[in-house]
């Protein structure tokens, strides 16, 4: 009886469990396939470690200390780079979306720099600002800025003119139009810009750390590669994927939370 009541009063809890199971199950399938491939011997066991080998290498790294530092170093770099990049992109995106003249002039430039892979800048940045933290930050801001600008200004272009007209005939001036119509309609696109920028920033960060860094997951992978510690390489790759996934889910949750009005 009590269990029936518990189920009836907390459908959210069991629903959450089911959802979590659905989300996790594909990963479990991949891990099982991975283990089977490892056992089958199709690939040399030296080149393809088992999931357990990777777990062991994680435990070893945690005991020796350093794994957390690598994770934190990379995560912080991504967060700081993305926050600065997107923050800079917001006014630029608005200017591009709102003023035809600005758009006509800057659009080709923005597209050129966006098409340029940020990694291609790494050697130049190393020459200019060295292999320090500021160089990596620069590359990350660059990597986040351009896709964010594009997402934001295309979002503004997509605003239906009927809302602008409706606000104007109610008496809205330019400032009110911006604050009360354009900004709220653009908020979902700003959050999407964060998602896109996070994806690009992770890809760029690891490449930057592979070349020139002593901390960070990219550096960890590079070190492991130098010492032929294949389980650690796997560990690094898996952690990068997991952290990126967590961040993406967080932004998606924020969108669901703050943009309840959307269909």
């Amino acid at each position: 009886m009590s269990s029936r009541i518990a189920v009836a009063t907390s459908p959210g809890w069991s629903g959450w469990l089911t959802q979590a199971a659905v989300r996790i199950s594909p990963f479990i399938v991949v891990i099982i396939l991975w283990q089977l491939t490892h056992l089958s011997g199709v690939v040399s066991q030296v080149l393809l470690p088992s999931p357990l080998d990777v777990v062991n290498s994680a435990i070893r790294l945690i005991q020796r200390g350093g794994l957390y530092q690598h994770i934190i170093a990379s995560t912080l770099r991504v967060l700081v780079g993305v926050v600065i990049g997107v923050t800079l992109a917001i006014p630029v995106g608005f200017a591009l979306g709102w003023y035809k003249g600005v758009r006509g002039f800057l659009d080709p430039l923005i597209n050129f720099f966006r098409a340029l892979p940020p990694i291609a800048l790494v050697p130049l940045v190393v020459v200019y600002v060295g292999i320090g933290e500021s160089g990596r930050l620069f590359v990350l801001i660059y990597a986040s800025f351009f896709p964010a600008v594009i997402v934001i200004y295309e979002g503004i272009l997509a605003i239906e003119s009927i809302y602008i007209r409706a606000a104007r005939v109610l008496g809205a001036d330019g400032r009110e139009l911006f604050l009360r119509v354009v900004l709220p309609l653009t908020l979902p696109h700003i959050l999407t810009a964060f998602r896109v920028a996070l994806g690009v920033a992770w890809a760029t960060l690891v490449a930057a750390e592979l070349v020139a860094a002593r901390t960070g997951l990219g550096a960890m992978i590079q070190d492991a590669s130098n010492f032929f510690q294949i389980p650690t390489i796997f560990l690094g790759i898996i952690i990068i994927g997991a952290v990126a996934l967590v961040m993406d889910s967080a932004v998606r949750a924020a969108i669901a939370r703050f943009v309840t009005w959307r269909d």
């Binding site: 007209r165 005939v169 109610l170 009110e176 009360r180 709220p184 908020l187 009005w261 959307r262 269909d263």
Partner: protein, 287 residues
């Protein structure tokens, strides 16, 4: 015939309503209004020497074939666009841009999707142009939401509303800022027939309550006769005034007017006029 019916309406209303001190109306005059757009194929004339007057407190319906530039005309009246020739004056003053004195109800509703029903209704009263103290704007918004049958939906987002409810919200939002004139652009065109009939009655009620000058565009002759004091039939593009027909029914009007023989005969007459223009506009459809 026309003068009389207009007189009936105004006389009746002014006698009854002195309590709600919001009555301020405006007349409109259009003089040789022309509008053309530059297109790749050259100049497209949409309106040509359009002239008519709308008296204060009147309800004028503009009907004409689709594509005849009715929406263009409404954009000019609202101040969202400007004529290429002629002049439009409100109380003798030329229109220089949009104004909260002239409200617009759009066919696409245009309620703000990111605001709740209440926030939409109160939107205009938060703007510098018509700002009211909180207690007053809340009272006004609630009053119009109630008039439009939306009480109880204050916290809902538009995505959960039906088309008819969204349009009622748009009407409440437009009335809340107390414009002198209301323009309606095919306000009920996207609604099903049943909702549409009820919306027409609802708009007649609020019009009787508020007595604003109303200009509305519709392609439904029945709607035009039911809601209007006068009907302006515009020709195929470029739109000119083809004829102006006075509607002999006084206000308030109920749905039973629609079945009277007089209504039917006016409807037949106007539909014939519109049909002629429609055939001119779309010769490929004529037999």
């Amino acid at each position: 015939m026309a003068g009389l019916s207009g007189q009936d309406w105004r006389g009746g209303i002014e006698g009854e309503r002195v309590t709600e001190n919001r009555i301020e109306r405006s007349g409109i005059s259009l003089e040789n209004v022309s509008k053309s757009f530059a297109t790749r194929e050259g100049e497209l004339k949409v309106l040509e020497n359009l002239s008519f007057e709308v008296e204060a407190g009147e309800s004028v319906a503009v009907v004409g074939p689709s594509g005849s530039g009715k929406t263009t005309l409404l954009n000019l009246l609202a101040g969202l666009d400007f004529p290429t020739g002629g002049s439009i004056k409100v109380d003798g003053e030329p229109i220089t841009g949009p104004s909260p004195q002239r409200g617009v109800i759009f066919q696409q509703y245009a309620v703000f999707p990111y605001l709740t029903v209440f926030e939409n209704a109160v939107f205009g009263l938060l703007l510098g142009a018509n700002r009211k103290p909180k207690a007053e704007r809340d009272r006004i918004a609630r009053r119009y939401l109630e008039l439009m049958g939306l009480s109880g939906f204050e916290n809902a987002y538009p995505k959960t509303l039906s088309g008819g409810m969204k349009q009622r919200l748009a009407i409440a939002r437009a009335y809340a800022v107390n414009p002198k004139i209301l323009f309606m652009d095919e306000p009920f065109a996207a609604l099903d027939a049943q909702t549409r009939a009820l919306m027409q009655e609802l708009i007649l009620e609020i019009m009787a309550e508020e007595q604003k000058t109303v200009v509305f565009v519709t392609h439904s002759v029945e709607e035009a006769i039911f809601i209007g004091n006068r009907i302006v039939v515009v020709s195929a593009r470029p739109a000119k005034v083809h004829s102006i027909i006075d509607i002999p029914f006084g206000f308030p009007r109920g749905p039973d007017v629609k079945t009277s023989s007089e209504f039917m005969s006016i409807r037949r007459e106007v539909e014939h006029l519109v049909r002629e223009q429609y055939v001119l506009a779309h010769p490929e459809l004529a037999k």
